[in-house]
């Protein structure tokens, strides 16, 4: 299939980079690359929502934070004081709890990571539906503001509750044993497996999303984006399609939050901040809105540069400047105009 060619290239690139870092003994690049992979997951999800369904979300960091914070909280909160609670003992009997010792050697019981992950995703879905139903009725500035408001509320709640560590966030989040021998954690030893896990998830997400946009649903989403009223009169349940897309992209963000939190061993409130949401939107815009591969490429590039501190103290300023320049001169995205034109010219010359 023609549309799976870039996917093949992506897989080759993933493997190629790993082999290259191995050959040059620069395995440390895999750490920021892994983190980038998880951010890319948020970005491709947002790209589906913004570029294909045409709905802006300035609150996607909120979903990332819901996933990350819930998973972190459940796997670090010591349940020993509540062990007589019937709900807790029921969870224990179901095997949802892990017993161990904390740093000081006293008894420490927390929720099993799989259960925490499932719970976080479930909450994300519920929240995304609850927020999505009213929010997606709005358009333009109202939609932007409502999603921004949602993001701010999540940020504020993360800061307000001692349970979520307030301004310090949550630290010492344990690894997430996914399969025997494969655990999501930042240990130096499991770096290669985590790299493949993270980028494997991105490849999987890309496969699913590329399939989706080439399906009946993808066509309907493009129609909604182009002319919502006409799409509705063509028999498309526009409200439901927008909502489902919103939920899918929220879940992708949440999953990214969960995995990155376990990988990093912690999460802080800045992950829920407005600037993070704006950054996701910026990257999607730079990638060309309705261009999953563009968003993935630009996301990977900019995130890795940012995570390696290449912009120094100008990190936010760089994103602001990129946003303005792209939106002023190339609203179709960086890859949208110049590169595709160049590429076509090269191809034509070749013929």
């Amino acid at each position: 299939m023609k549309r799976h060619l870039p996917l093949g290239l992506l897989v080759l690139a993933i493997i190629g980079v790993q082999l290259l870092t191995r050959a040059t003994d620069t395995a440390f690049y895999l750490t920021p690359l892994t983190m980038t992979a998880y951010y890319s997951l948020v970005i491709v999800g947002l790209c589906l929502l913004m570029g294909y369904a045409g709905q802006i979300s300035l609150g996607h960091a909120g979903f990332f934070a819901i996933g990350g914070y819930l998973s972190a909280m459940l796997t670090t909160k010591n349940l020993v004081p509540f062990k007589d609670n019937s709900l807790i003992s029921l969870c224990d009997e179901l095997g949802l709890l892990v017993h161990g010792q904390d740093m000081f050697g006293s008894a420490f019981t927390h929720v099993q990571p799989w259960a925490a992950c499932g719970c976080a995703i479930l909450v994300t879905i519920v929240v995304a539906y609850a927020i999505g139903i009213p929010v997606l009725k709005l358009k333009g500035h109202y939609l932007a503001m409502a999603t921004l408001g949602f993001g701010i509320i999540v940020y504020r709640l993360a800061l307000a509750f001692p349970l979520f560590g307030e301004a310090d966030g949550i630290s010492d989040v344990p690894g997430f044993p996914l399969l025997p021998g494969l655990s999501v954690s930042g240990d130096f030893s499991s770096r290669v497996s985590n790299y493949y896990l993270a980028w494997g998830m991105v490849a999987l997400a890309m496969w699913l999303l590329v399939n989706l946009i080439h399906s009946r649903v993808g066509r309907a989403l493009k129609a909604i984006h182009g002319a919502e009223g006409a799409a509705n009169a063509t028999g498309i349940n526009t409200a439901r399609y927008k909502l489902n897309t919103f939920v899918i992209s929220a879940v992708l963000a949440s999953v990214a939050g969960i995995f990155l939190t376990h990988y990093n061993g912690g999460i802080g409130p800045s992950e829920a901040g407005i600037m993070k949401s704006v950054r996701y939107v910026a990257i999607v815009a730079i990638g060309g809105m309705a261009n999953l591969w563009g968003a993935l490429t630009m996301g990977a590039l900019l995130n890795i540069m940012s995570l390696r501190g290449m912009f120094g103290s100008y990190d936010d300023a760089v994103f602001g400047a990129i946003l303005i320049v792209i939106m002023l001169f190339a609203p179709q995205g960086l890859l949208g105009i110049s590169l595709s034109a160049t590429f076509k010219r090269i191809l034509r010359r070749g013929e």
């Binding site: 999303l209 989706l212 009946r216 066509r219 509705n232 063509t234 899918i248």
Partner: protein, 253 residues
């Protein structure tokens, strides 16, 4: 009765766009709604297709009340429409635009779409074939892969037509299908509407072009300032004094 409209009214603030209008459309006929500018014709269409909610009154389609239903539900019941100012989906080819019309005749959802299940591919191919067939019927098969919004006006109208037909509707609402077309193109449209009608699709159209309306419609409703002032066959309407005074008289002046 395929479509029955009873005492339908719609107000915008102080403006009474449609006022207590009642008429019905029989299965298999071509019915036209005419009236001077601002008579409420497009509002009437928006009310029927569910884009606007009526202030009062009732609309029944196939014996079922549809006022208050969202447009997509009405569309699924078998009603398709076109727009006076063509509404195609930008960024999509003509073929894709028509394939969107197949939406309610196919069923691949989010999960099956993401997983690209084998049956969805079959369904896609069927949709594509049906869409291509319609494009061929409208003589624009060669434009299938061109971005729809970049086509010439008449061609865009044809794509919109094909999209509506792709829904396999029982009732087709045409909002000024001949607007902006020249004499030859208008004749072509007239022929096409008749042809569609002969295949068993009921047509309700709003049109300014009197010759077109008089040629093809079986019945005509005349609106003025939101009110129905006459209803009947073309010859009856042509001889209705009220209509001549309000409508044709004005048109001749």
């Amino acid at each position: 009765m395929l479509l029955e409209i009873k005492n339908l009214s719609r107000r915008f603030g102080g403006l009474q766009a449609v006022s207590d209008a009642s008429f019905s459309v029989r299965q298999g006929m071509i019915k036209a709604v005419i009236g001077p500018n601002g008579a409420g014709k497009t509002t009437l269409f928006n009310l029927i297709s569910g884009t606007l909610l009526p202030s009062s009154g009732a609309i029944h389609f196939k014996g079922q009340p549809i006022h208050g239903l969202p447009p997509y539900r009405i569309a699924r019941l078998g009603m398709a429409r076109t727009y006076q100012n063509i509404k195609l989906y930008p960024g999509m080819t003509a073929l894709e635009n028509v394939m969107v019309g197949r939406h309610c005749r196919s069923r691949a959802g989010f999960i099956s779409g993401m997983l690209s299940l084998p049956w969805t591919k079959k369904e896609e191919n069927a949709s594509r074939a049906a869409a291509l067939e319609l494009l061929a019927l409208l003589d624009i098969a060669d434009l299938a892969e061109v971005e729809a919004t970049s086509l010439a006006f008449g061609q865009q109208r044809a794509v919109e037509f094909a999209r509506a037909l792709a829904m396999e509707p029982e009732l087709l609402l045409l909002d000024e299908p001949a607007a902006g077309l020249n004499i030859y193109e208008t004749a072509e449209v007239a022929r096409l509407i008749t042809k569609i009608n002969e295949q068993g699709i009921t047509v309700l159209l709003v049109e300014h072009d009197m010759s077109l309306v008089m040629d093809i419609s079986h019945e005509i409703v005349v609106l003025s300032f939101g009110e129905k002032i006459a209803e009947g066959t073309p010859s009856e309407i042509q001889h209705n004094k009220e209509v001549i005074r309000i409508y044709l008289g004005e048109d001749d002046a």
